[in-house]
């Protein structure tokens, strides 16, 4: 009975922590499986480790990696700008803008990326000549062979950027929609223009919602650059497959390129966390640090 209890209870709570035996059991099983997989790969007769070691720092591989990084960053930058424009257009009161954006997004999400890459790569076959000028007049600013104006690298960047823009547009749109409508009203009541409101008030807040899925897209883009092999852009996977087609060490070079892809995607996590902190300012409790997670599955 609480009322007859004379204990003081002024001391700290000292309790035996809850035990989690299942975690140890499943952790053990997972470790065994992982170790045996690593052992299987390591001991496989078909993989020559000295070849992996030989090619992992091969200049052609490292050069290919540079191209991969360059294409990824460039495409994501172009895609982010286009995606923001598309998202704003899709939310516009202007029906023409809405339809244009919706059409663009539907088209580029609705056809396979590989097909789009091949299309841009082989544009020269469909349109051998490109002319920029005023139709039905003699005014021509730029003309030339398509294959000169759009080399494989440019074709690859166009294909990946446009496709990515279509996907990212929906992410940006979701981010914009997540911003409280009261924010827009407050900005309007201060006399801010629509553009100012978007730039200064809405987008910075939308970033908080946009960055985590955009991190995903970044990683996806990094891996999708390997598809540019089909139009012979000299990125990492192309470099690896060029080498392996000469020395027939396919598996070893897959391990080499796989290792570098994994290394690059792992490193990408750091800038993402920095950005999340940057745009989490004011939403967290102290100094921009993420607020403690309110929701966890299971017991801690």
């Amino acid at each position: 009975m609480a009322t007859t209890d004379n204990t003081d209870y002024g001391d700290d709570v000292v309790a035996v922590p809850l035990r989690h035996p299942a975690r140890w059991i499943f952790g053990g099983i997972a470790s065994v499986l992982l170790l045996s997989f690593i052992w299987a790969v390591y001991s496989a007769k078909s993989i020559q480790h000295e070849l992996v070691a030989k090619y992992i720092f091969d200049p052609r591989i490292l050069q290919g990696m540079l191209v991969t990084i360059f294409v990824t960053v460039l495409c994501m930058a172009i895609a982010a700008i286009l995606a923001t424009l598309l998202a704003i257009m899709k939310l516009s009161a202007n029906p023409l803008q809405r339809w244009l954006a919706t059409g663009f997004i539907e088209f580029f999400r609705g056809t396979p990326l590989l097909l789009q890459i091949v299309f841009w790569g082989y544009l020269g076959i469909i349109f051998p000549q490109l002319v920029l000028g005023v139709p039905y007049t003699d005014i021509v600013w730029l003309s030339g062979d398509t294959s000169d104006l759009i080399p494989a690298l440019v074709a690859g960047v166009i294909a990946l950027s446009l496709n990515e823009a279509a996907y990212s547009a929906e992410i940006v749109r979701a981010g914009i929609l997540a911003v409280d409508s009261g924010q827009v009203e407050a900005a309007k009541s201060l006399g801010m223009s629509g553009g100012q409101t978007m730039r200064r008030i809405v987008l910075p807040q939308a970033m908080r919602v946009i960055i985590p899925p955009m991190g995903n897209e970044f990683i996806g883009m990094l891996k999708n650059t390997s598809l540019l092999q089909v139009i012979a852009v000299a990125e990492l996977y192309t470099a690896a497959s060029t080498i392996s087609s000469a020395n027939l060490a396919q598996i070893e070079l897959l391990v080499v390129s796989g290792f570098w892809y994994l290394a690059m995607t792992t490193v990408l996590g750091f800038p993402q966390r920095a950005l999340e902190r940057r745009y989490g300012r004011g939403f967290a409790t102290v100094g921009g640090r993420a607020a403690p997670r309110a929701f966890k599955v299971g017991r801690s």
Partner: protein, 254 residues
């Protein structure tokens, strides 16, 4: 007679077939404080939002500081204004919201100086000076570098008032500024508003704070179902209401 700051004539507003304002006519002189009271859903907040054209109206005219809000009139024809022109008109009208609507990604000071720099073109140094002055005026000089999430509701609302004042408005609109606050924080916000009224600011306040209305208002208007039921001095409306609807409402809230 003093200059009319707000002149609203037969203002009507409807959402589809739902008529929210059924012809509101009222005026506010320069330096006057008008309190709007009424049950929830009566249209009082909507009317306030029509005044700075956050909502467009379906009928009537609204003049603020002698300017027709949201439209240009040539002869009998009304032309919708460009967003830019409406934005310019809004600069003269400060607004304070029930849920503060501070920009969460900016510090208190940044909230206050955003519009002076971005809209009014004040230099960052001057804006900062003004920002500190205004934060001091609302009693928050020491909170300039705090983010809204680090402030109490009452402090946030006072920052919001400072933010609205930073554009040097001729008219201040308050949309239930204390309704979202814990009772012990209401007083600080009302004190700031009383100070503003004393300094001669023209104010329209939608409120449930009858004590504030009695003390500060020059005029009280009771709105119900989109119509003005009763209008007059606080004494007339709050102490000796003539209409049955006003009496019933006051019985419930007092």
């Amino acid at each position: 007679m003093a200059k009319l700051m707000v002149d609203a004539r037969s203002v009507r507003k409807s959402y589809g077939s739902n008529e929210v304002l059924e012809g509101i006519t009222l005026s506010v002189e320069q330096g006057e404080v008008l309190c709007i009271i009424g049950p929830s859903g009566s249209g009082k907040s909507t009317f306030l939002r029509c005044l700075n054209h956050l909502e467009s109206i379906n009928g009537g005219r609204i003049y603020v500081n002698d300017e027709l809000m949201g439209y240009r009139q040539t002869g009998k024809v009304l032309h919708e204004m460009k967003p830019k022109e409406i934005a310019r008109q809004r600069q003269a009208i400060g607004m304070v919201f029930q849920r503060f609507n501070l920009f969460p990604h900016m510090t208190a000071l940044q909230n206050v100086i955003e519009a002076p720099i971005g809209v009014a073109g004040v230099s960052p140094e001057d804006a900062k000076k003004l920002g500190f002055e205004l934060l001091a005026q609302v009693g928050l000089a020491d909170k300039a570098e705090h983010y809204p999430a680090q402030l109490s509701g009452g402090q946030q609302q006072r920052v919001a008032i400072a933010r609205a004042l930073a554009m040097k408005p001729k008219l201040m609109l308050f949309d239930e500024p204390t309704s979202a606050l814990d009772p012990e924080l209401v007083g600080d916000v009302l004190d700031v508003m009383k100070g503003l009224a004393k300094a001669g600011m023209t104010m329209i306040v939608v409120t449930h704070e009858m004590g504030f209305a009695r003390e500060v208002a020059d005029k009280v208007v009771f709105i119900d179902k989109g119509q003005i039921v009763e209008m007059g001095t606080p004494k007339q409306v709050l102490d000796k209401p003539q209409e049955a609807r006003t009496k019933a409402f006051l019985n419930k809230v007092l």
